[in-house]
Amino acid sequence: MADLNTSGAGAVSGAGSVAKSGGLLAWLNAPERRGPLLVAPALITLFVMNIFPLLWSFGLSFFNYRANRLTVPSFKGLDNYEKVLTDPVVWERFQTTGIIVGASVTLQLIFGFLLALLFAKTFPLRRILLMLVLAPMMLSFVSVAIFFKLFYDPTLGLLSWAIGLFTGEPFILLATPAGSIAAIVIADAWMWSPFVMLLVLAGLVSVPTYLYEAAEIDRASPWRRFRTITFPYIKSLLLLALLFRTIETFKLFDLSFLITGGGPGASTETVAIYAYRLGFQFFRTSQASALAYLILFVVIVLTSIYLYIVNRRNEEG
């Protein structure tokens, strides 16, 4: 080994000169400002492009501003909120959205789970088949909506044709409110079941093999094996999938807008479509802002529950 006795002092004096050089740069470079300094650009961008516009619209929601009028808006206090909260149409739209979200997310959980069971093993061509199953959720809503509308067409659609092979009659799915909701739910669930699959799959592969081996030796029935070994590993992931998909499906717009136009009547018009109509077609800009805040509130509640579960899961390791 070479002589190791000489270098300590040099390193120390080098450090001293760093500490001496002053000015703004050094001030910014101080360790205690490291965090704020690095975070600042992100927070500024988000504030300018997201938070500030939100505050702006929050302000608007207290006026009677309409984007297509030249009249100077006047302060209306909580009038818009009162209007939105007492508007039966708003509650109807929330109800419709709730039904669609409930049905779609349930289907997603079921199909996602089944798909995950299928892909939990290793087998030849697994990566390629997985790639095929994952494709739907990468598509844009517009293309999915347009094609599913064609599939549902009683005369030119595949669904009606396939069912007609057995019944001899064209199948008219979109004629009733229930059928129309089903049509949207099917399209949405088809798109997003792979998402749930990914989450459940992560849970399934994290189950240590030795647990299954132990269960095998203890002669546990498949159901018991699932309930006592598999399910605990995917429980929290299923809950997360449920919440994440609920938040996302809550925003459902294109599928409904393009497949049924919100019809028949208004039976598939979601709250997102209604907000769009209020703001962009009816020019009730302030009222739309108030409704937007109602939606925001729901999203914040759901998001915080989601993060609570994420954190709890992380703490459990």
């Binding site: 961008t45 093993k121 088949l129 999915v144 809550f250």
Partner: protein, 291 residues
């Protein structure tokens, strides 16, 4: 005793028979997408034919008409798709790079130098991304009106940067959280300052994560329609807006053209879902769930 051997396969492994069964199920699931791809090679009559045509004479006209169309005078002219494509790539690319730079720095800070109320910041950041776009479109719209950013590259790039930021921060934080902090300590002892630790030690370790984040952000941005429609001009218009054109003009939906655009988009998507399968979970949950 060959069958005995098969029965003693390690748990979690399966053979070709299983592949076959799964393959059939996967194909059924994939069928709507497959139908879109087939439609891209069909004439309009074949596309809408009932009984449906599984076998037909394929045509490349739809792909041609993505890029060229015939004028009234009968000349073939560019559709502007290349311009849309370049716009999508430029706007998407710039905003993703910007968001990655800003977001990675922030994520590193959130991971290594937690601020007071770190979790609250992370929560607010996530919330801004969970919002229905309809909630923010009105105010953003009004803001663009005041700042005059509407229709400019800078405006839409800034907007998409903000749009991608929460995603980038959450993703990159999850990757930084996964790193072994001992390695950074070690580099400090070995005489590296914080910047060198970040660039020489941390960043190289999360390169795969950085790539995954970029790809997912690009896909999200690429599919974004509402902001693109409302806030771009003729010079800055992007692919989804071009796609909307195929769903109603003088002929309703141009099935072949729409399918051709979707099919072209699927090529990179397939590559990504094939290559980045390990990062997919993180990608689709904004990095909130790692494994």
């Amino acid at each position: 005793m060959a069958y005995r051997k098969a029965a003693f396969r390690k748990p979690g492994q399966a053979g070709w028979l299983y592949s076959l069964v799964t393959g059939v199920i996967a194909l059924i699931y994939f069928f709507p997408v497959l139908w879109m791809i087939l439609t891209a090679f069909k004439t309009r009559s074949d596309a809408l034919a009932i009984p449906p045509k599984l076998f037909f004479t394929p045509t490349l006209d739809n792909f041609k008409s993505v890029f060229f169309r015939d004028t009234q005078a009968g000349d073939a002219v560019a559709t502007g798709f290349v311009q849309y494509f370049v716009n999508s790539a430029f706007i998407g690319g710039s905003s993703v790079i910007l968001a990655l730079i800003i977001g990675t720095l922030a994520a590193y800070a959130f991971s290594r130098y937690p601020l007071k109320g770190n979790d609250t910041y992370m929560f607010i950041i996530l919330t801004t991304r969970m919002l229905p776009p309809i909630v923010v479109i009105i105010p953003i719209f009004l803001m663009f009106r005041v700042t005059g950013l509407s229709g400019s590259y800078i405006g839409i790039i800034l907007l998409y940067t903000a749009f991608n930021l929460p995603f980038s921060i959450w993703m990159m934080k999850s990757f930084f959280d996964d790193l072994n902090p001992e390695i950074e300590d070690s580099a400090r002892l070995d005489g590296s300052n914080d910047w060198k630790v970040f660039f020489r030690i941390c960043l190289p370790q999360v390169l795969a994560g950085l790539a995954a984040t970029a790809v997912f952000a690009l896909i999200l941005t690429w599919n974004e329609f509402l902001f693109a429609l409302l806030l771009t001009g003729s010079d800055t218009r992007t692919v989804p807006v071009a796609m909307a054109n195929t769903i109603g003009g003088e002929i309703g939906v141009d099935w072949g053209l729409l399918s051709a655009i979707v099919s072209l988009f699927l090529i990179p998507v397939f590559i990504v879902t094939f290559v980045l399968q390990k990062q997919l979970l993180r990608g689709v949950t904004f990095g909130t769930i790692r494994k």
